[in-house]
Symmetry: C2
Subunit: 671 residues, 2 copies
């Protein structure tokens, strides 16, 4: 089967972001976050583990048993930063620091290509004996991702050669000597990345093996039974064995859903289990489908996506509602005050959705990326970049706060590597399917998926096209795009119509292009070279040096959740454009549960540059109960109680918990 | 100071209940519950502990370390049953069984009067060394209560002599040899009971010591520090030490509130800590106030009662909202789905409230007894008397069910002893305070506190008055009372006006008595010999042989909770007369959270004898969301969603979980 790739994202190295909203986050990432995380790599003993392994030391491993991955995620993020710098030359401080860490990593690698400092230091004889819990392949996957990023940024092979040696080691052993999969996915998508970077097809075959092998026998179940023996842990002493029992057993029986091991992927009906594992798994499966041209597998992934987004996703885009097992639970089980919605799971969702977009060219995946980025991901990071949410509640009584670091420090470096490569999600090229536009299957397409101020150079069929975007998002829907090809070129420009957009107007070189947007179907009609297809606003023409101006109309929209969501019954959430809003205690006199928001009256949305780094706040009419009449009573006939008018101030959800600690609620009672 | 007793409850032995609603519960208690619990005393090893102690055995104690109290509670309940039987003669099966258990208990008593099978069998050298957790005085208190009940029922002293010997032992040692109080109260009220039964005043003094001593130093705190040593428990192995740490420590500091040990009672501002302990403590304190004539102490108790009922009581009368520590938490913290509201705490509240009524003659205490009995207590018992709720949720997703027994089996025998002596709460005599009625302070009063079909002989100033009551409660407010003194006697009949009563009409021998009831103030005005005082409808006259007919008007009333109660925001609870209602999943097609009850339209309340042993159900108009419009969407603009009309069926809260398991909610969303 021929590979499937209906769209190819433009490499972040070819995109330079300059955006009023995002600049601050990216600066935080490039400067503070990378520096801070490097300090944590030293402080936590992560780098020391590599040093001691290189020195042939015995014992003394520090941190979680998968701490190596922290170093790799840092290397990946740092490589993306190097790639987007004007001068990533070998003399820069960051470049030198990256090289130093790579030297450490390379020195810790074994003669046979194996590389894992936990096993090297603590249990060298137990390599590959506990795939379920010990994350060796997970760490390998992050090494590979870092290596590919570093190679792209620098053209160097210092880390890539380490990664290929380890990948070869893995490829040699798995399938024959070791027939099984690992608990925490990551190796799958990493091997496809490595294949694309090296041209080595067997890495795709090995990734396919890992994707297809899962759920086909009880290897993980059997491993769990002998976990004490193989991992050397006392099950009564907490730790890994206890974690595994907690995660994998339901009412005493093995429950493979935790690691998506309950059935072969092709038979799975819903996204289940540990949300980060699920996202990495499905991203890897999407990569395998792309490379092998497996339309059946792609159809299964699209079905799983629909089930997830229609039944198991918070309004923020967050996923995995339960802290126990960090997992998906049941359809419509989306509690707010105990929402887990791990930051890493949201990041994993972005990874999976980018792949689904590339496989299908459908706007809905890019649309979910937008919602997830602005809400479920950004909330994970404080405005100053120094504190992090691991889990993201949608309601808090005031006891949930960002922390400076975590023993299991997966989220902060994951945020860093996502934001450092944010440019990857903006533009893509592809060829048309010709189903709706009637322009034939060979049309050339240029997708604009995210509205982020930026400049980029995008090759369309051999011609470099310079793009220059200015965007008012998320505070307004004004977007300007200058399109300047090397030589005049005909192609179809596809501008994603956001799901929050109520109407859109377009002008090309000042001339209106008439387009009717049907929000529900993602389709519409137009003329003058304009149209709507697959969720995109389409402008097909010969581009010379043209300016496209788009206004995506947006207003404050209170949304309701499906009636089956018990936690949101009788409540609305305020949204405005891509942003979900919340109330914080600091802005209100009464406890938040006492307010009812008037959805029938007008909302007042206005920009305040003095607040939270500059945000649009929403003022809404509301009522609160009269308190005076309750003198000394706890229960009264309902007919006797009255309310009076007041207002509430909502702020973007991502910005909460950056002021005085207090209550927060996304879902509000409605008047 | 002279004793305070504004009212004296009529002894349950002098009251014969014959009531359509209560007969089934009392039969269940007399027959099945007592039999079932006796079997549990055998099966759990409780009686065997006494046998082995009598035999001088070593070790082998079975059950919780306070299991002796289960036997005592059973003896107390059985004695109440004997007292109300026409023929409690020595040949009855129950009488023989009671005597056998008493023989066992007596044989287990030590030479010095000490009696506790846990310490006798397991740690004889550690008597009285761990008052905090080991419940020796708690068991002693239950022994005393049983002994007094048995003595009243039979005139025998077989158990009373055991109790007095133990009480003397305790009185000898405490205060001097042992200066301290115990963790779980019960001895206080028991010693006052014993004093009243024996005329021995020093038992009151010892009770007073226990009441006043608490909260005055850190004896309990010091004991906790050495709990491992003195109780022989491994703190890392769960059990008593772990329980104590869990209960008594807050953020690492000793928190005496758990055992009401944070301050002297006279300085306490709120009812705190373990709810059962608090109720037993306050009941004992009320007894001490009564005997010592301590008006200051009484005023403190009334203040604590007001704080509890205005801020920390469920609409059912249940108290103690948190499973952690089985305790009171903060003002207005009344979660529904995690409500603890232990059955024993509700029973303790009835005990305390009866004492407060006797001390004050105020209807509000009898009113809370009514609410608590019909809702928070009865819900603890299945309709067939064989399964029990220990904790009582006010909302359940379907996973909360009554169980047949508990390792800590405090609630079932507590229900039994309360119901077996239900007659105690119906009638009382007293003398008037003369403040409101203007009839002078020496008037003779006869209180009717609970409307339960019954006959009783009540002495008023030396004249026996025969009372014969018929009551339609809880299904309607029709009450008929025949008053027939031996000789014509003038006294003031006081009929409690229930707080749920919207209006009342009274006829004496068919002649209307005009009365205006003011629900809020508990007062009102009247003529023709009628009036309202202290929450009572007053009829003063010379009684010859007269019939009083009262109608307490009641309707379905949706009530709201104070705005500070976050759990009930936007919700109403349906009440009708003394009953709180709930929705059960079994009666509804949709998940319960989807219904909104229309409070503006009429409710349809009707008796259904085919349901739940015969209940009045409430049919209410309601709406549910349209589901069709939600095809494949999880969030939609609020303006687009619609609802349609339907109805809900509410059943009395006490009767829930007696049919197919499923959801239950007391607090309902409002249309």
């Amino acid at each position: 089967m021929a590979p499937i790739r209906r769209a190819a994202s433009v490499d972040p190295a070819d995109v330079t972001i300059d955006d009023e909203f995002w600049n601050r986050w990216l600066e935080t990432t490039r400067e503070d976050l990378l520096e801070y995380q490097y300090e944590q790599l030293e402080a936590s003993g992560c780098l020391e583990n590599f040093r001691r392994t290189a020195d042939g030391a015995d014992g003394g491993f520090q941190g979680m048993w998968f701490a190596d991955s922290d170093a790799y995620k840092w290397l990946e993020a740092a490589s993306y930063v190097l790639a987007t710098r004007d001068d990533p030359g070998p003399d820069s401080d960051l470049r030198r620091r990256v090289d130093d860490v790579i030297d450490l990593v390379a020195a810790a690698q074994g003669e046979d290509g194996y590389l894992n400092t936990y096993f090297a230091l603590e249990e060298p004889e137990k390599r590959w004996t506990n795939l379920n819990m010990m994350h060796e392949l997970y760490c390998a996957g992050h090494l590979i991702e870092a290596a590919v990023a570093h190679h792209r940024a620098t053209d160097e092979t210092s880390l890539l050669s380490v990664a290929t040696a380890f990948a070869d080691h893995i490829d040699d052993r798995f399938g024959d000597a070791i027939d099984g999969v690992l608990g925490h996915q990551e190796i799958e998508l990493a091997l496809v990345k490595l294949s694309r970077a090296t041209g080595e097809e067997r890495y795709v075959e090995r990734a396919q093996y890992f994707v297809e092998r899962r759920g086909r026998d009880d290897r993980l179940a059997r491993e769990l039974e002998r976990i004490e023996e193989i991992a050397g842990y006392d099950p009564d002493d907490g730790g890994v064995a206890a974690d595994a029992r907690e995660a994998f057993y339901e009412d005493g029986d093995y429950d493979g859903r935790y690691a998506q091991d309950h059935a072969p992927l092709r038979d799975q009906e819903a996204v289940e289990g540990h949300a980060v594992r699920a996202m990495y798994f499905l991203a890897g499966a999407a990569d395998v489908a792309a490379e092998t041209g497996d339309e059946d597998l792609l159809a299964r992934l699209e079905r799983l996506w629909e089930h997830m987004t229609e039944r198991r996703t918070y309004v923020t885009g967050g996923i995995g509602s339960s802290a126990r097992g960090e997992r998906f639970t049941e359809d419509y089980d989306l509690p707010n005050d105990t929402a887990y919605a791990e930051t890493c799971a949201a990041i994993g969702s972005v990874f999976w959705n980018r792949r689904l977009f590339e496989l299908t060219g459908r706007a809905r995946y890019a649309d979910l990326i937008e919602r997830t980025l602005y809400n479920a991901v950004l909330v994970g990071l404080s405005l100053d970049g120094t504190a992090f949410f691991y889990d993201n509640r949608l309601a808090s009584d005031g006891d949930h706060h960002r922390r400076e670091w975590f023993e299991c420090a997966c989220c902060p470096p994951n945020v860093a590597r996502l934001l450092a490569a944010l440019g990857r999600h903006l533009y893509a090229t592809g060829t048309g399917t010709g189903t709706d536009t009637g322009t034939g299957s060979d049309e050339r397409l240029l997708y604009v998926n995210q509205y982020v101020g930026s400049s980029a150079t995008v090759p369309i069929d051999g011609t470099d096209v310079e793009l220059d975007q200015a965007s008012g998002l998320p505070w307004n829907g004004e977007v300007t795009l200058d399109v300047d090809p090397e030589t005049p070129t005909e192609f179809s420009l596809r501008l994603r119509i956001p799901s929050w957009c109520e109407d859109a107007s377009v002008r090309v070189n000042g001339e209106p292009v008439s387009i009717a947007v049907d929000r529900d179907s993602g389709s519409g009609s137009g003329g003058d070279g304009g149209g709507v297809d697959n969720g995109y606003l389409v402008i097909e023409r010969e581009w010379i040096n043209d300016r496209v101006e788009v206004t995506f109309e947006r207003s404050v929209v209170p949304v309701r959740a499906h009636p089956a969501v018990a936690a949101d019954a009788g409540r609305i959430a305020l949204t405005c454009g891509p942003l979900v809003y919340c109330l914080e205690g600091v802005d209100h006199e009464r406890p938040l549960h006492q307010y009812r928001v008037e959805t029938a009256s007008a909302f007042d949305a206005g920009y305040r540059d003095d607040l939270l780094g500059g945000v649009v706040t929403i003022e809404a009419g509301a009522t609160v109960p009269e308190l005076e009449e309750w003198d000394g009573e706890l229960y009264r006939p309902a007919a006797e109680s009255a309310r009076h008018s007041t207002s509430v101030t909502a702020v973007p959800y991502y910005a909460w918990d950056n002021r005085a600690p207090g209550e927060m609620r996304v879902w509000l009672r409605e008047e």
